[in-house]
């Protein structure tokens, strides 16, 4: 129905957009996989990270890609403190309470940003914001290509972290069997906080890759939350490879859906997949059968 001059760029667009979604989902899948909480504050976390990148560029002139180390470390610390000092204390370990606490936190974060930055939309200008690279019939924006590369790198780092380090082993142990891990001397609260911190650190990275092609305002996170949840479920809760591939897949589905059904109705493809995966393969593509 569509010729390759439209289909190929559309697919490539989908993949690169999906890469950004994957970056956001990576953190969410870790948080869910380890702490088993649905983090309602993930969108607000992304929003704060975006403001961080924005401020670093506007006030200190630091390019978003160079700001990566700062953002990752900063968001990690924020996440660690939030989990250790607030979420853990407030929720007493009950699922529904964690939900409410993260919801409350997201309200606080969104409105604190509203107070601090006001409500107008901000964006940054970099020399490469409008640059494109020609791949076949497609002109792909440079920031999106960089985001794609970034998603691959971040996923690889996370997989290495989880599989090959002691910390990763501790995280996996806590995720699988909390009591057993405690008995083995693993400090569970600390591991939980580290996991939440890493989850938010991923958002820090995502923000560095996202802002050059997008914008920030206090509500910006809300637009990504549902897509992120879909990817986490599609990829398998707790699987980084799953989040990466799931993100790319969802990006393509969104793109093709938009092409064939129109941009508004096309969004249904994402949620259609969400429902189908939940019903027929809830462990997702790469998750373990629980």
């Amino acid at each position: 129905m569509f010729d390759s001059a439209i289909l190929i760029p559309s697919l490539l667009n989908g993949i690169t957009t999906g890469a950004v979604y994957a970056l956001i989902a990576l953190g969410l899948t870790l948080i869910y996989g380890v702490l088993h909480i649905i983090n309602f504050a993930h969108g607000a976390g992304l929003m704060l990270a975006l403001y961080g990148v924005y401020l670093l560029k506007e006030r200190l002139g630091i390019d978003p890609y160079l700001a990566l180390p700062v953002m990752v470390v900063g968001m990690f610390l924020l996440g660690y403190c939030l989990q250790r000092l607030v979420i853990n204390r407030a929720s007493h370990g009950k699922d529904e309470n964690i939900l409410l606490v993260t919801l409350g936190l997201s309200i606080i974060m969104e409105n604190a940003a509203l107070l601090a930055f006001q409500s107008d939309t901000r964006s940054i200008e970099t020399p490469y914001t409008l640059a494109t690279v020609t791949i076949g019939p497609a002109m792909i924006a440079v920031p999106k290509l960089v985001a794609f590369a970034g998603a691959l790198v971040v996923s690889a780092i996370l997989v290495w972290l989880i599989q090959a380090t002691d910390l990763g082993r501790a995280i996996r142990a806590v995720a699988r069997e909390k009591q057993g891990a405690k008995l083995m001397g693993i400090h569970v609260d600390h591991v939980y906080a580290i996991s939440f911190g890493i989850g938010l650190a991923c958002l820090g990275a995502a923000a560095c890759f996202l802002l050059p092609a997008y914008y920030v305002n206090p509500q910006v996170g809300n637009g990504f939350v549902l897509v992120a949840f879909t990817i986490v479920v599609l990829g398998g809760m707790g699987s980084f490879t799953g989040a990466l591939l799931g993100g790319l897949l969802i990006g393509v589905v969104e793109s093709l859906g938009g092409l064939y059904l129109g941009e508004s109705l096309g969004q249904i493809g994402i949620f259609g997949i969400f429902i189908l995966v939940l019903l027929f393969r809830p462990q997702g593509l790469f998750g373990a059968r629980s």
């Binding site: 569509f2 001059a5 439209i6 760029p9 559309s10 667009n13 957009t17 409105n111 509203l114 006001q118 409500s119 107008d120 939309t121 964006s123 200008e125 409008l130 494109t132 002109m139 924006a141 997008y214 914008y215 305002n217 206090p218 509500q219 910006v220 809300n222 637009g223 990504f224 793109s255 938009g258 092409l259 129109g262 941009e263 508004s264 969004q267």
Partner: protein
């Protein structure tokens, strides 16, 4: 003993004062007006800009001596937050009603205005709508509702008629059109009207693309644009999406003969022009705009920018709506709601910076209200149509 006597004397004096509250022509010291906007939530930016405009008007009125026919009574603004939800807006109206407001100005968004005008009607509370472009707001037969500015039907009709004028003058280079609109009330309503009007003038609507709020990426829509290759692209959406769309077009090097917006979110926005001058260049918009020939508008723009804000349409729409209300209170010579409604019905308010001429309300809609066509030229927004307000010659088409 003495204190008791003093107490009794003072009480008697107080009692008689209460029994005859208006002895000696005593006037109310202030007139309470509710200023209701969505200052938190998804619409926070627009809501806050509206509030800025309304408060500027209150400040100006009070500085110039308040409501003179009420002995210089000052306007006291009661601020309300509609929280970007209709039910919050309605609840605020109830609170304002109980606090004794004489009128309400607000509430920017059409969906919220529907709820607030209705709530106000129950108490016969006059409600001036500052923006709210949905025509349903003034078509429900509510006697208390008055909209100073145009609705989207007027904007769509004006836009199409003017497009035809511009196109004809340039030798009819444009024939095909692509409409890109946001999916909710304002975008869908406007797009429906455009799609209905345009063929009548001989234009072919090749495609109508509806997109979500928010849309995270416009590359596919721009791809469609490349494929369809319309002469004119007509966007009708909010600031963020408009900006992203136009920037994506710039990035993908898609340049139609004209970008012709109708109520375009970023099209006649000083903020957009300042931040993205290249992308904004040449864009035409049919939108709320002030009268450029009125020197006060330039002064107001400077004043708003001096506060570090942009002189966006929300500011001057809310400003003039508030002044309309103050004028009505002045002529009503009373803070009584029914009197103010009466005064608004008969309003001939003309001392304003909008290009509406003398006010005349029919069923709550100011018949003089009209949008203006602007174009971004040389990093500034100038009026191109109608001729009486023209500041520069239109550049149409943008590219041959």
């Amino acid at each position: 003993m003495r204190t008791r006597r003093i107490f009794m004397t003072q009480s008697a004096a107080a009692a008689s004062a209460m029994a005859f509250p208006l002895i000696g022509g005593a006037q109310p010291k202030t007139v309470k007006v509710g200023v209701l906007h969505p200052v938190t939530g998804a619409l926070a930016y627009s809501g806050q800009q509206c509030r800025l405009g309304a408060m500027m008007a209150v400040e100006d009125i009070n500085k110039a001596g308040g409501i003179k026919s009420l002995g210089g009574a000052k306007i006291e603004a009661l601020l309300g937050d509609a929280q970007s939800q209709p039910q919050a807006g309605a609840a605020e109206v109830e609170k304002m009603n109980e606090a004794g407001v004489s009128a309400v100005v607000g509430a920017f968004a059409s969906a919220i205005c529907l709820a607030t005008t209705q709530a106000a009607a129950k108490h016969n509370l006059p409600h001036v709508v500052d923006v709210g472009v949905a025509d349903q707001i003034v078509e429900r037969g509510l006697k208390n509702t008055f909209r100073f500015g145009p609705g989207y039907r007027k904007c769509a009709e004006t836009a199409v008629a003017n497009l035809h004028v511009l196109n004809t003058l340039a030798g009819k280079p444009a024939r095909t059109v692509m409409i890109i609109h946001e999916e909710s009330l304002f975008g869908t309503g406007t797009a429906n009207l455009l799609a209905r009007e345009l063929p009548g003038y001989g234009y072919e609507v090749k495609e109508v693309i509806k997109h979500a709020n928010p849309t995270r990426d416009f590359n596919n829509i721009v791809l469609r644009m490349k494929a369809v290759n319309p002469d004119i692209v007509i966007p009708a959406n909010y600031y963020n999406e408009y900006a992203l769309l136009v920037r994506t077009m710039q990035q993908q090097k898609v340049q139609p003969k004209a970008i012709y917006s109708v109520l375009g979110g970023a099209a006649s926005s000083y903020k957009f022009v300042k931040e993205f001058p290249d992308a904004a260049n040449g864009i035409i918009d049919c939108n709320h705009w002030f009268n450029p020939k009125d020197k006060r508008s330039a002064a107001m723009r400077k004043r708003v920018e001096a506060q570090g804000q942009f002189f966006s349409y929300e500011v001057f729409m809310a400003y003039t709506a508030t002044r309309l209300l103050a004028d009505a209170i002045e002529r009503a010579k009373s803070a009584d709601r029914a009197a103010i409604i009466q005064a608004l019905e008969n309003s001939t308010f003309s001392d304003h910076i909008m290009p509406y001429g003398q006010t005349k309300f029919i069923n709550g809609q100011n018949t003089g209200a009209q949008p203006l066509m602007t174009q971004v030229q040389k990093n500034d927004i100038k009026v191109i149509v109608p001729r009486e307000f023209r500041e520069v010659e239109p550049l149409f088409p943008m590219k041959a």
